[in-house]
Symmetry: D2
Subunit: 305 residues, 4 copies
């Protein structure tokens, strides 16, 4: 496994030159675009890593996976999916058009920004702080890392410039999809996006999903099996923005990427994989990270299809 | 003329039953839906009226006409139309879809909400209060009424529930169409919509437009001729929301309606007409008010076509 | 008047270099792009002309005006507008998106291709030939020219390459907007677009519209007044494709352009104007022709606003 | 297995009452809506069945899977996906809106009608007959049934009423996506949709896909492994129209449905499943068929997630 990870890094490093760091969040554009790391955790909790696997980055859209699971655990599947759909979409992650043209303004799925904001409005708690603490607590358990917290500078940067997300949230508020206060939901959303992790953290999270919700370290059930499976389904159909279809063909693993450069992948019954490479392709996915996953999936014949 | 106005009211009153007051702004839904009034001012400043012509109502979208003229006087035509287009649209007044599907996020015209918000961001002044004072001062001159002010309750109601407009403004901020602070522009927009007038006030405003910008009372040039004509063009192509085309066919007069129930019309070289009837049809236009204008236009053969 | 027309040609000729002939219809791309002509007919039937006013060109979208009037004379206003709307649209002339996103697939207005095809399906007659003969007969009367016929080569070229129009027609057939056979309606539409006229012909047609339907030569009523006015309204709100709003501001005359390079304009109660210049701007309007109309409208203060 | 299939039929039969047969293809609306059948073929070629598993039905969209594989075998993956995308879409199967709003008119994926028609234009052969013979020959091999042919009445019915598909094809012809003659491609498409099979036939086809392209009877490689996997990916992300996301959550198997009432499913490495029930739900999927697959997937824990 170690050899494969090292080879994957070697194979993928040149591809980091094809991408660039997220420009629309000022704080993210400053990071070193050449970083690249990978970590794997198997079903016995054994781990391997290579490259910049201890460098931290913000979860961004990867946090949508944790928020969705928490919201379902808080409200039940039925209520959550009365507010957000289950269908993939060919539109970009920040698109607003479907909210207006569909019969209801229900966002198509919980992995696009509109859907994730709607999901955040369902997380239980007294005020933003309490909700955020519950969510970060849950992320810590999934990642088996008690030090996880959010990055204040990135949060400020996102909140100050997040006009498109503010447009989405207000549109859904108008349509009755979001019930609470718009700015409170957005504060939770921007802070959640700014949670800092490293490749090993999310490999651990991937391993929990791969094991249908069980901790590979303690054996504790952290997520009900049904919810773990449901989330993996969304990771296949819409985890990689509007490149999800092509990624499913090329890699074939339930995965979720974030514009911070991370990707979490879950190989059912086998392992979790975490990759980090902040240079993004045109769809917003880690350019080097996709190559790493492609390499590992082919080498080990991991595609679920 | 007095007979025609009385007959127009009689003819149109039953049609108020076909409409209902604006429901999406709570404060507007409370007014008496059976009110109906009309006023006319000719090129010599002579005036006639009938029905509830002294009852006040909020300008709502009628204020877009004044704001556009002030923004052009402040910035020049060229700069204003680098931020907002000149084309009519078949979409509803609060639609966001074109902002996303067009090559630029430039709103199609200054009469839809998105366009009017963009226009408001161009009005000169130090802060919201100064800008609002300048705009209200301009409206007072157009209406020849120094007592005009905005209705605080309606403003609060609009601001508290204006999520769709907040979505539009944030979308345009993200796209670089709006330069200032989003909430400041929205405060100006919501206050401007809440300016209170009566039918006679807007008949006077219509007369100024009919006279290519000259006051029918003092002869003073209040608006440059080119701007007066430009504004009348927009009133024809997009003054009546997405019923502008049909209204042009049936009535044939440059007109602008607001969901407060008012409509201002300008008969080039002849007169201004102000109508008020808060019961709205499905497109957001005064149900009785349209009938009044249809009646007067047919009786006096006023269509510009 | 003669001096004004000569000056208008001189002023506008350089602008023909800014445009190019229609490329999507092969036969149209072959014509000489530097041609430019103008003709005027007043209410007494007196005419003036300058430039290439005897060169023939195909009517293209200008024919939509005649077809609409004939369809209303055949079916009544109410029935025609149950199949096609009255609203302008910010979408390009060959757009299909509104047919899918609106509640009904009814085209927004009779001046876009979809609407014109729907209108053609309403023209009375036994078979395509009979319908075409009726339509050409009507065009001959409007233009006071018995020699008018359609250009077979242009028709063949349009029919062979008219896939977008075929898509629009089939979409409307599926939605029940078009009742007859799709290919028969398209044959009529393509042949009608290929009717050949010159600038004087359409100036005469403009004069008939300017006179509310009366022939300026014989005094005969060729179109009922109500229909003449209705058509002029559409010419203002949607006669110049998605540049109609800007054209209304700059020129302010009911006009209809075609990608053959012609524009017909009607100055209510005063005159008809016909211009021809096959070099088109990016919206599909005659680049030089628009300048001619702008020049004449400003010189003689003809704007209806 | 036999018990499970019998129980699945019993469980699902009441749900046939929730759907109705396809109404937009006249010939399909005539079939008995209460039919329900299922067949399973394992990796050793052993088969089980229950219910109306010998009743024939037309493949409809199920044929898109075979056509896609043949087109890739004819042209290579790269060329095929230069003409059609890989992304799922939240739009209905016959939607045209994305063709206009996306930067290219490339259909989003090969499972929606637009994409399937584009794929058909790539199948090799001299004329429609030759291409159809090649495609039916390939379907016969996949289903291990030499008697398969298309239903002439259904073909005629589809061709006579297929205006929406004609609109899609002409739109793509205009955009250069389809290279050949539009009507020839549509003839192939409509005939392919009319190919008649039964539940056992498609269970066999599913088994070939489940075995990565190998025949479970002869061991012969009928499809290259890479293509078999690629096709299963599309079946997950967009095999069940705009209910693909929800189906992935509920059932979790690569599947493709058709409005004839059939669904083919492939359980990787385990079995193929064919179901038939012509009563369709609102998304166009077999109402009873979905329940059968849900039942079997839960009973045998077959979800790939």
């Amino acid at each position: 496994m170690q050899n494969i990870l090292d080879a994957a890094i070697g194979f993928s490093l040149p591809h980091t030159l094809e991408g660039k760091t997220a420009s629309y969040i000022p704080e993210l554009s400053k990071v070193d675009a050449r970083q690249l790391g990978v970590a794997v955790v198997d079903m016995d909790g054994k781990s391997w890593s290579s490259g910049d696997c201890h460098n931290v980055f913000t979860m961004q859209s990867i946090s949508k996976v944790a928020a969705l699971m928490l919201a379902i655990m808080d409200n039940g599947e039925q209520y959550v999916f009365s507010k957000v759909g289950m269908e993939p979409t060919g539109d970009p992650f920040n698109s607003i058009i479907k909210l207006e043209t569909m019969k209801t303004a229900k966002p198509l799925n919980p992995m696009i920004n509109a859907g994730a904001i709607a999901v955040d409005s369902l997380i239980s708690g007294e005020g933003v702080e309490d909700k955020l603490n519950r969510l970060i607590g849950f992320v810590r358990k999934l990642c088996h890392n008690d030090k996880i917290w959010f990055n204040q500078d990135v949060y400020t940067s996102e909140s100050t410039t997040g006009f498109r997300n503010r447009a989405l949230a207000n549109f859904m508020k108008d349509a009755g999809i979001i019930e609470g206060e718009v700015e409170a939901v957005l504060e939770l959303y921007f802070k959640q996006c700014s949670i800092e992790v490293n490749a090993l953290d999310i490999a651990m999270m991937g391993a929990v999903l791969a094991g249908d919700g069980k901790s590979p370290i303690t054996g504790e059930v952290l997520i009900p099996k049904g919810i773990a499976r449901l989330v993996k389904t969304f990771m296949v159909t819409c985890g990689m923005y509007d490149a999800s279809g092509e990624f499913a063909v090329r890699v074939g693993l339930p995965s979720k990427s974030g514009v911070g450069g991370g990707i979490v992948a879950a190989v059912p019954g086998q392992m979790g994989i975490g990759v980090f490479g902040p240079a993004l392709d045109s769809k917003g996915n880690s350019a080097g990270g996709i190559k790493i996953l492609e390499y590992i999936s082919k080498e080990l014949d991991l595609s679920i299809f």
